[in-house]
Amino acid sequence: MSVRLAVVPLSSCDGCQYNLLNEEFLDLLKGLNVKLVSWPLLGLGDGAETYDIALVEGSVMSSRDLKTLLDVRRKSRVLVAMGACALLGGVQAWSSNSISRKLMSEAGFSRPINHYVKVDHYVRGCPVNVGEVIKLLKSLISGDLIYVGSRRFNYVNRDSFKISGSLLEIETSKCVVCGRCVEVCSLIGARALNYVFKGIQTNISTPYQESLESAGCVNCGLCFAYCPVGAVSLKTRTEDLLDKIREGFLRTAYVEPEALASLMESDNLELGQVISAIKQIGFTKVFIYSNLYEAKNSVGGEVLARSPAEFSILSKQVPEHSVYLLTPRIPQDSIYISQCVSWRNVVNSLTTRELQSLIRELGTEELDSERPDGVVGYGEDIIVVSELKDVRKALSNPEKPFRKIVFEACPGGCLLGGGQSISKYNDLTKVLARRRDMLKKITTGNPVSQDGERSVVNCLTNPTL
């Protein structure tokens, strides 16, 4: 039985049809046993018919076009949009100025046909390449429906790939392209992640899918913190660390007050309970330690980076100023528990989120209240800023040239850092306020950190932190 083919013109220049009118195409129709049943240009066709394949040229600009199109859709098994007008509306869809908009509103806007009906296949081009039409027809008739022309619009199989760095890994197969990581990455100034591909193929990747570090990643871990579906993962070393603790290589934990505050807020614990929980993991001593303490070594007039992430950002963004990294000076057999992911490459460290999972494994019931073995903090005149523009402003203040400016890059400061524990609240402002309260509880009588005004990023309306 022969295949019934129809060529249907809507509003267009008829150029695609004239391209089809050649020996190659008509020969092919004979060879494939295709019968042209409707083609007004050749005077073929009558009303009551069904088509196996309909090639539709042109866009919908009038009710007449729409009627024809709906009629064709009803009659045909496979409907193919042929040429730029059918795909995208064509040149007549332009409304570059008010005159054409006015004219168009009188005549009717030009719309692509998939605005009104389901389209099975697309052939691009102005005019179409006849070879492409022939290829489509061949594959349709032989039953092999996978066709290049449809790739642009049909969601076939998004290529899944992994982007990895030394600490973080992004799996695009899990990604839902919400774009939060791109937002925070550009906000923090690293701009390693961005959208790639177009339309439904949009994905998130580094340029050319290179590794995170070479794309400019600073390992702040914000993408890890803000990802709602767990597409970004941290390469954890908790198993390793637990072994080391059991073997007695690691005895002391130096915990950041911000990390403590976060844990207290997210798991609803008292300070003493958290200390006790950390000791249950296997540490013999627990110190509250803020690396702001290291600011005493700074002479002033330089920017103090709270973590290696900040250090990378500052050396990129304010290269004219010297940057001092507040490296925690802690003994060899100890571990540094902090809110930041990026310490992992510098010292033995654990993030709050990892600590949270360890504590949850142990169970938080029946925890005694224990006092920390010591508090190391810093209460001198330092300014904490959490935005680059504020860094520049503070640096350019001529009245106080030797202030110590601490930079915390994460939006909201270290209390909302990249490695922080997961809160049960979605509202970041609320989370930050609760953590501030906790921090005050910790630092009452222990001046560890001067709490400056830190902005919360408003654009992240519903983060999962």
Binding site: C13, L42, S96, A107
Partner: protein
């Protein structure tokens, strides 16, 4: 006797409709487009000068080379650019190939079925397809693409066209001479219906279709009785207006004259001082000239004779063309605004493009008059004459016969609706 006939004319480019109302002695015919206006004039407004040809070549896929050339000409004359002779010749060759392609498709696929030839008749279809393929291939080689060309810009060709390409085109064309003559024999053996042309006014560019170089304004346009020099005054000579109760604009010559433009007009005017023709063509044109002047149906004869003429002319000009002489002129930096008019002979007749540019070289006003708009009134008056003639005889009693004749007449004119609806506003 009162009859109303409506027919959607198929086998023409685009969708159109002919309305016939017969009331006793009074016959009224309206020829209207069914397609939506696509307002290209407003689409190009505000665009840079070099964008315009690409956009307006999409007015019509059937004669995109003509639109492309006319818009390039208009913009060049607005910018004060003068292209060299080789460039003009090559552009003209592209346009002529398109005319040839259009004539072959029109006659073979659209007209012949009216006279008892069917698409299933292998003998003529294979000849037709062969000619069509060769012409398409030649057009693709010279113009880059079959429709919507992109090979030249205001100022010259962007592509470095090599001499072997021209040679290949000449060889290709040389291989179909006999097939084209065979096709001509088939067309010229058709028996045409009798009809007296009610408005014998034929308008074409001077010396078209064979001599078009140099091409720059002002353009000399021949009509049957007068000669006009057309440049910025083109709107005074070609007047567009709503006539009667018709829904679309019609174009008239100055003095309310209904005129015809296209292959028939070109051949009639060409003979005035035609030179350099082969004896075969001279004989053919001379033989059919009285018919051209008399019968609108003879447009299809004119088309095939013009195809032969163009074919001969293309072989001559292309074999003597030296692509080494092609040069490209770029517009100067200082431009204080201005306008330009481009007039070319499209497959269906005169095509006028007008653009006004501001000092930033952006279009502030655009105007296009296409051949179908020009001769659509001529279709109406000659259809009326045809129906009156039919009514006088026995045949007029058969409605379907009237319909068939009228449709055949419309098809003989080869109207092109995508062109015609470029800006026509529908009356509500």
């Amino acid at each position: 006797m009162s009859i109303k006939l409506t027919s959607e004319v198929v086998r023409v480019a685009g969708e159109s409709e002919i309305l016939v109302s017969i009331d006793g002695e009074r016959v009224k015919v309206e020829y209207d487009s069914l397609a939506s206006p696509r307002s290209f004039e407003s689409l190009v407004t505000g665009r840079k000068y070099w964008e315009v040809p690409y956009v307006v070549s999409r007015v019509c896929g059937v004669c995109s080379h003509a639109h492309f050339w006319a818009s390039n000409l208009a913009i060049e004359s607005a910018l004060g650019i003068k292209v060299d002779e080789a460039t003009s010749t090559l552009r003209d060759a592209c346009n002529k190939l398109q005319i040839l392609q259009n004539h072959v498709i029109h006659l073979g696929f659209l007209v012949l079925p009216d006279y008892g030839y069917s698409m299933r008749n292998d003998k003529y279809v294979s000849t037709l397809l062969k000619v069509n393929r060769v012409v398409n291939e030649a057009l693709r080689l010279l113009g880059g693409r079959l429709t919507n060309p992109n090979v030249y810009v205001p100022g010259g060709f962007t592509e470095d066209l090599k001499q072997p390409v021209i040679k290949r085109v000449v060889n290709l064309l040389g291989s179909v001479g006999n097939d084209l003559r065979e096709l001509a024999n088939i067309i010229l053996s058709i028996e045409l219906p009798e009809l007296e042309d009610p408005s014998p006014e034929y308008v074409s560019l001077r010396n078209s279709p064979s001599v078009t170089v140099p091409v720059e304004g002002p353009y000399i346009i021949d009509s049957s009785k007068n000669t006009y020099t057309v440049y910025e005054n083109y709107r005074e000579i070609f007047v567009e207006r709503y006539l009667d109760l018709s829904t679309s604009k019609k174009c008239l010559m100055t003095g309310e004259k209904v005129f015809h433009t296209g292959a028939r007009a070109r051949l009639i005017n060409y003979l005035k001082d035609g030179s350099g023709l082969s004896s075969e063509l001279r004989y053919l044109i001379a033989r059919y000239e009285p018919l051209f002047k008399k019968n609108p149906f003879s447009n299809i004869y004119a088309k095939i004779i013009e195809s032969l003429l163009i074919y001969e002319n293309l072989l001559q000009t292309l074999s003597s063309l030296d692509t080494g002489k092609l040069s490209r002129v770029r517009p100067g930096n200082s431009f204080s605004g201005g306008f330009g008019v481009g007039v070319v002979e499209a497959p269906r007749g005169l095509l006028i493009h007008y653009y006004e540019l501001n000092p930033e070289m952006r279009v502030i006003k655009a105007d296009i008059i296409t051949p179908t708009v020009m001769f659509s009134k001529h279709i109406e008056v000659s259809s009326e004459a045809l129906i009156k003639g039919l009514l006088a005889s026995e045949e007029g009693r058969d409605e379907s016969l009237v319909k068939r004749f009228v449709e055949a007449l419309v098809r003989a004119y080869d109207p092109c609706i995508p062109c015609a609806v470029h800006v026509i506003k529908m009356k509500r």
